[in-house]
Amino acid sequence: MIDIAWKNMWTRKTRTILTILGIAVALELVIMMTTIVDFTERSMQSELAKYSGAGQIYVRSQAISGIAGQEFPPVNSILREEEGRKIIEEVSGDIDTALTTPLLFYQLAPPPYPSSPPEALLVGVEADKIYAYINEESVVKAGVIAFSDASAREVILGPMASRFFGNPEVGEDIEIVGEPLRVVGLVEGSELEDRLTANVVLIPIRTAQSILGQSQSISAVLLTSTRLDTIGSLAENIRLNHPKVTVLTQEDIAENLDTILGQTRFFFNMINYTVYIIAAVVILIVMIMAVSERTKEIGTLRAIGASRWLVLRTILLEAVLLGLIGSILSIPIAFVIDVAIGYGLREIVDPWSLTQTLITVVVLSGLAAIIPAYRATRINPIEALRYE
């Protein structure tokens, strides 16, 4: 009966094309959402792997709410610089001072989607400690290992931030918060994989404080412990001596990233479920209309000897074909949109998750058509033969 289903679709071209396009666009959205979740997860995992064994501790202001406490990097944290430096001094015996620095964060461009880091994040570090924040494995083009002085008007850009500023070359000036700064380095790495360094706009902390007008304040202190086995006690000591700060160890960061990931996944899954429901409703409406339009045809089919089961199969098959064609068509559409927005998501589309999505839509199409298909089987051939 696939030929009858196919001919029904082919004959009603406008309706078929609109339905297929509707499904394709809906599914394309699901593919994009799923891909974003996948790449967020991968970048977070990659980030966590980099922290593993790095012995880092972040000290930030006390979180006002639970959600703020999960924020990482702690963009909305404010500490007095004096307190931050005091903490560094107190634990100086247990830390690698070359990889320890006060940090000042400032969001230059908003996150591209919820629960993601900002697209461009200003990070102020001590001029000679850029590798405290940028992982040593990241390569900085032009061989810069430190800013020229504590108040240098210089900047190092991560790949995503570089794109945000129009991909400047080393030596060019860019404007940040109305101030011209010279690009002295570009962090190499993947925009998708290096979650914390991709968006970085790294400048000396003094320069950051100056252009942001925050001379006495910092966002956090980044400490790197010399011994991995003493991180716990080190963090505990800081908590005891400074009850008004929040101390984040690697484990806390991992936990926070996991929570953020959970929230991101939940958010996008809700969108996906909604899109699935919309796709199913589209199929349901189209098939109800199709059955209603074809009352006479279905009645004739029944009269000349088509069983109820055959009528049911034909309607379901038509719905499944609509879902299948729409699903397959959504893949090139998703890629075209992806190329247009320039995220390179197609490089990380997981074939298995794509297959799962396609199967889900095809199955949903069949399920959505059950009611109209059942109604078709209940058409009385005698009534249908009178139907005009």
């Binding site: 009269a303 000897g305 088509a306 069983s307 005698i382």
Partner: protein, 224 residues
């Protein structure tokens, strides 16, 4: 035994809201192999209702219908569907062809429902269309054919599976007189070849093609 179909004391009452409307008051009828019976009578006399009961499209309120000696009036939907698909060919006033299928596909569909599949179904469909002189219109969709040609496709669809019985419900009702005469003659030709036909019609000119005329009035057979 030459009997193909027999109706005994057939009564049919439709329920419209709470009102019961009788359509057949008690009909007895036997049709034998090779018959060409025309059922005539005024509108609303129960002709089509009788045809639907004989065609296993409906069940009587009272009485019984025997098809090839088997009581079909109590059979379930699947069994009735099987009888319709294999043993009964239908011709309708409004042709009732599948609009998305061409002439050959319409005939082939009926053959597939009757259990004849693949190349054999295609060959039989082509032969049936040749018989109704539509050999050159096989690939045409119903909307590309005239009323007379559409009815010829419907006749080809009905005869292709070589059914035990053909039921024609006002087969010339939607045709002009010239095409009507042509269709009546075509049915008579098939009957001459041994095909059993029961035809409902208003048109006495068409009814004259039948060997037997059954007159109905007020839900009963008044003359046979």
């Amino acid at each position: 035994m030459n009997e193909i179909i027999r109706a005994e004391g057939l009564k049919k009452t439709y329920k419209l809201d709470e009102v019961e409307v009788p359509a057949l008051w008690g009909v007895d009828l036997t049709v034998e192999h090779g018959d060409f019976s025309a059922i005539v009578g005024p509108s609303g006399c129960g002709k089509s209702t009788l045809l639907h009961l004989l065609g296993c499209l409906d069940r009587p309120t009272e009485g019984r219908v025997f098809f090839d000696g088997k009581d079909v009036s109590t059979m379930g939907d699947s069994a009735l569907t099987r009888i319709r698909s294999r043993n009964i060919g239908f011709i309708f006033q409004t042709f009732n062809l599948m609009p998305t299928l061409n002439a050959k596909e319409n005939v082939t569909l009926q053959l597939r429902l009757a259990g004849i599949k693949g190349a054999r179904a295609v060959k039989v469909a082509e032969e049936a269309l040749e018989k109704v002189e539509l050999g050159n219109r096989m690939k045409h969709l119903p909307k590309q054919l005239s009323g007379g040609e559409r009815q010829r496709v419907a006749i080809a669809r009905a005869i292709a599976k070589n059914p035990r019985l053909i039921l024609a419900d006002e087969p010339t009702g939607n045709l002009d007189s010239h095409q009507g005469v042509s269709i009546g003659k075509l049915l008579a030709d098939f009957n001459a070849e041994g095909q059993t036909i029961i035809m409902v019609t208003h048109n006495m000119e068409i009814a004259k093609n039948a060997r037997r005329i059954i007159t109905m009035r007020d839900g009963q057979i008044t003359e046979t």
